[in-house]
């Protein structure tokens, strides 16, 4: 016996996602049988870009996503740089890294505290607060007055924090819940500050106009460097003393989440943060069923069997097409289904750190990951889980922050922030980078000084893809299978699995 339920819309994510679940009864318990991930919004960026001046692309593609615009801007710059036959100068490379690092910080902090934590934390615990923290006392007073207002009939008086799924909030100690609420409020400051850092060199965020092929338009003056660095110092403390311990603490209280949301154990990373000389801070590569292999960029195709497109299926991105067909029979998502050697691949922080960890030879995460396993008493296998994904995200942020201090010190003050270039009549380029949510590629071809073809294969396209012509579920669809559900009317456990992938649906469909 199975019953079909939907989480529609999945909120506290970027964009329009719905999840369809077939719930099976096992004795007195329920588990997820089949799951379907539905991308619900389409704009057609690839169609819109055709025939435009290629220099429009790093501005237009940033608007694919307001949470990770920088990654799209950089992927587009890289694709154009390849087509124009240039590389950024030293300042240009460092400035692009620094803007990207700032956006990683805002994205990860936003994701854990504002988007994901409300599924784990019972914020109503604030009503039991007895301490002396003034901000918490104010929030308590606000909550009490709003509760009274609700009893007197004010509609949604406690919005946007209530109502919610009243699933099982397993952390019963009110002081832990209240501490999290305090950190939720701090996180709002931290992510805003991270955006300020991005704007120091990027002009503004979201959507940094200063990103251009060859580097950046903002000359790194001394006061700019100080402005970025002082904020980075504060944020470093938050990440080390609050964010990382919070994530570790949360999953020591909820150890079952080391075992929920497993997925295929197929990981893909392109590598990110250019160190010059072609090397990257995080190494790229692939892991298939647990085994490492070097990256083969020609092994990517996009399947559209169950996607709302009439264009041919299984095309590689350099020959990709995007022809929408909203009423296509059998199709259930606006996402294409990218596959690597026919495998659905998970991308994101977990992929970045495990690919780097398993890269032969010396690499950044070798010891860090070993130490983490020792500290938390977990294995590589345990990392393929809700907890593993959250921990990977927090852990990589610490590494990125340390690297950002070095990039800041390496800047040539008051020197040119970009390399100049000439436009080309004909050319091709591939821009590979990693967005906060995972592997991002832009494929560009130019003809007669205009964009002839532009295809984006985006992190959430990988993670949230629908089934393909082999009927293989996408990575999230697979990870949802076997998730235990206490109350099918309030499937909060499934929502926790979905959010561990940090969904970004405007990106995924574009």
């Amino acid at each position: 016996m199975s019953q079909r339920i939907r989480i529609d819309p999945v909120t506290r994510i970027e964009g329009h996602l719905a999840v369809k679940l077939d719930i099976e009864r096992k004795g007195t318990k329920y588990i997820v049988g089949s799951a379907y991930s539905l991308g619900e919004m389409f704009r057609g960026f690839e169609v819109i870009l055709k025939g435009r001046d290629p220099l429009d692309a790093q501005q237009i593609t940033q608007r694919i996503c307001g949470v990770c615009p920088i990654s799209h801007g950089i992927a587009s710059c890289k694709a154009q740089e390849m087509a124009y036959g240039i590389r950024p100068n030293k300042n240009g490379r460092l400035l692009q890294n620094l803007i990207l690092a700032a956006n990683y910080i805002q994205s990860h902090v936003l994701h854990f505290y504002l988007l994901a934590a409300l599924d784990f934390i019972d914020i109503t615990a604030i009503l039991k607060y007895r301490g002396k923290d003034q901000e918490l006392q104010e929030i308590k007073a606000w909550a009490e007055s709003k509760l009274k207002a609700a009893q007197l009939g004010e509609p949604y008086a406690l919005g946007p924090l209530l109502p919610r799924y009243e699933g099982d909030f397993d952390i019963k100690d009110p002081s832990i819940n209240i501490e999290f609420l305090k950190h939720y409020l701090m996180a709002l400051d931290i992510r805003r500050m991270a955006h300020e850092m991005g704007a120091v060199f990027g002009a503004k965020l979201p959507h940094a106009t200063a990103l251009v092929p060859g580097g950046c338009t903002q000359v790194p003056h001394e006061e700019r460097v100080l402005s970025y660095g002082s904020r980075l110092n504060l944020i470093k403390r938050f990440v080390e003393h609050i964010y990382l311990p919070d994530v570790k603490g949360l999953f020591s209280l909820l150890p079952e989440y080391w075992n929920i949301g497993r997925g295929y154990k197929n990981l893909l990373s392109y590598g990110v943060f250019d160190l010059g000389s072609g090397d990257t801070l995080f190494k790229g590569g692939a892991i298939i069923y647990g085994d490492y292999e070097p990256l083969d960029i020609d092994a990517i195709v996009e399947d559209v069997e169950y996607s709302r497109f009439s264009s041919p299926s299984s095309l590689p991105p350099n020959r990709g097409q995007t022809i929408p067909f909203p009423d296509k029979p059998g199709a259930y998502s606006w996402l294409k289904a990218p596959r690597y050697k026919n495998h659905p691949m998970e991308v994101g922080p977990l992929a970045r750190i495990l690919v780097d960890y398993k890269t032969p030879g010396p690499s950044l995460f070798k010891n860090l990951v070993k130490n983490l396993f020792k500290e938390l008493k977990v294995t590589e296998q345990d990392m393929y889980s809700v907890a593993g994904r959250h921990i990977a995200r927090a852990m990589e942020l610490k590494v990125i922050i340390d690297a950002a201090f070095e990039w800041l010190n390496d800047l040539d003050i008051d020197s040119a922030p970009a390399r100049d270039f000439d436009l080309v009549k004909k050319g091709k380029g591939i821009g590979l980078t990693e967005a906060p949510r995972g592997a991002l590629g832009h494929w560009l071809s130019i003809s007669d000084y205009k964009i002839d073809r532009y295809q984006c294969v985006v992190p959430s396209t990988w993670n949230f893809s629908p089934r393909d012509h082999n009927n293989l579920p996408g990575p999230v669809e697979r990870a949802l299978k076997y998730t235990p559900i206490k109350d099918p009317k309030q499937p909060i456990e499934a929502a926790r699995v979905v959010r561990s992938f940090d969904p970004c649906l405007a990106c995924a469909v574009h």
């Binding site: 057609g44 819109i48 501005q59 996503c65 307001g66 509609p155 400051d189 979201p206 000084y449």
Partner: protein, 320 residues
């Protein structure tokens, strides 16, 4: 039932908002009384996303005067916001449905364009965005189009787009929903957090603001020329032009669309006054303009104009 925030506190926040936009004492008072009304939930707010990138929501989170924490938990009664709300699934749909038939005043904020020719290009809870939004557009006391997509269609409505995307004003015209005196347009890509909270406070304190007759943009935030307030204007006057990215000088020959743009960017700036496009030597790309990114032959930058056809003459980049 409201928490006790003193009149002085409201005046402080109102004053901060007004000063940021270079507005007079009159606005301080209007914003202060508006915030006072917002605190007691008259009106309340509901926010939905259509063909959006969530950039305007993220920009809203960047609000720092007043701070976003205070906005969420104290000042503004947000019944539903897709990125912030704890509610999901049926719980979220119930809120939207109940508000659609509400008998209390509320402001409906729309982020993103609406796919008029392909309604299935944006779905929420097994309904098209269109079907979900129409009752809200009819019932809301005021509607705010946040960002250039919701205002003029933005990039989803650019030339050659496959979904027939339009902004809220064109959508309401198409569906015969009265919009004059109800819809306020707050363009920019993304929209500025202070114009969201400023517009809300004005609507709640005084009512419908003075707007541009055609564009429905409030004069208080969108009547000032970027070009004439530009810190690089002296370069323009002296004919000193940057000719590659990162150079000193006026950015006009690189493609700057400051002359076509009417915003408070030159003094309000972005991300808490840290920077803005022209200060960072990045040419303004005209993200508040009704024609932002609209035409294939009107690129942001002028580097390509000697190689391929463009649909403008230099003077088209200098007049409204």
């Amino acid at each position: 039932m409201k928490k006790n925030i003193s009149r002085r506190e409201f005046l402080k926040i109102g004053g901060y908002l007004a000063t940021g936009f270079g507005l007079s004492q009159y606005y301080t008072d209007v914003f202060a009384s508006g915030l006072n009304n917002l605190v007691s939930g008259t009106p309340k707010i509901i926010w939905l996303q259509a063909q959006s990138c969530s950039g305007c929501s993220v920009s809203f989170l960047n609000a720092n005067g007043p701070y976003i924490q205070q906005i969420i938990t104290e000042l503004v009664s947000i019944m539903f916001h897709p990125t912030i709300s704890a509610a999901q699934g049926d719980v979220a749909i119930d809120i939207i449905k109940n508000v659609s038939s509400a008998d209390f005043p509320f402001i409906f904020i729309v982020e993103g364009a609406i796919p008029l020719d392909m309604p299935k290009a944006c779905m929420i809870g097994e309904e098209t965005f269109e079907d979900m939004a129409i009752p809200l557009l009819k019932r809301a006391k005021y509607i705010m189009a946040a960002g250039t997509c919701a205002t003029y269609g933005g990039i989803p409505s650019a030339e050659g787009n496959p979904t027939g995307a339009v902004g809220v004003m064109d959508f309401m015209k198409n569906k015969n929903i009265p919009y004059k005196g109800r819809l306020v347009n707050c363009p920019l890509c993304p929209t500025h957090p202070a114009s969201i909270i400023g517009t809300l406070a004005y609507l709640a304190g005084k009512g419908y603001p003075d707007v541009d007759e055609k564009l429905l943009t409030p004069h208080m935030f969108y009547a000032h020329s970027v070009h004439y307030n530009c810190p690089r204007y002296h370069f323009y006057e002296k004919g000193i032009f940057a000719d590659k990215f990162g150079d000193e000088g006026c950015l006009f020959k690189l493609g700057c669309l400051g002359p076509l743009s009417y915003t408070t960017c030159p003094w309000r700036q972005w991300n808490g006054g840290i920077n803005w496009c022209i200060r960072a030597a990045a040419p303004c790309i005209g993200c508040s303009h009704p024609y932002f990114a609209k035409f294939k032959d009107f690129p942001f930058y002028r580097k390509g104009e000697k190689y391929h056809q463009v649909k403008y003459q230099e003077k088209d980049r200098t007049s409204k």
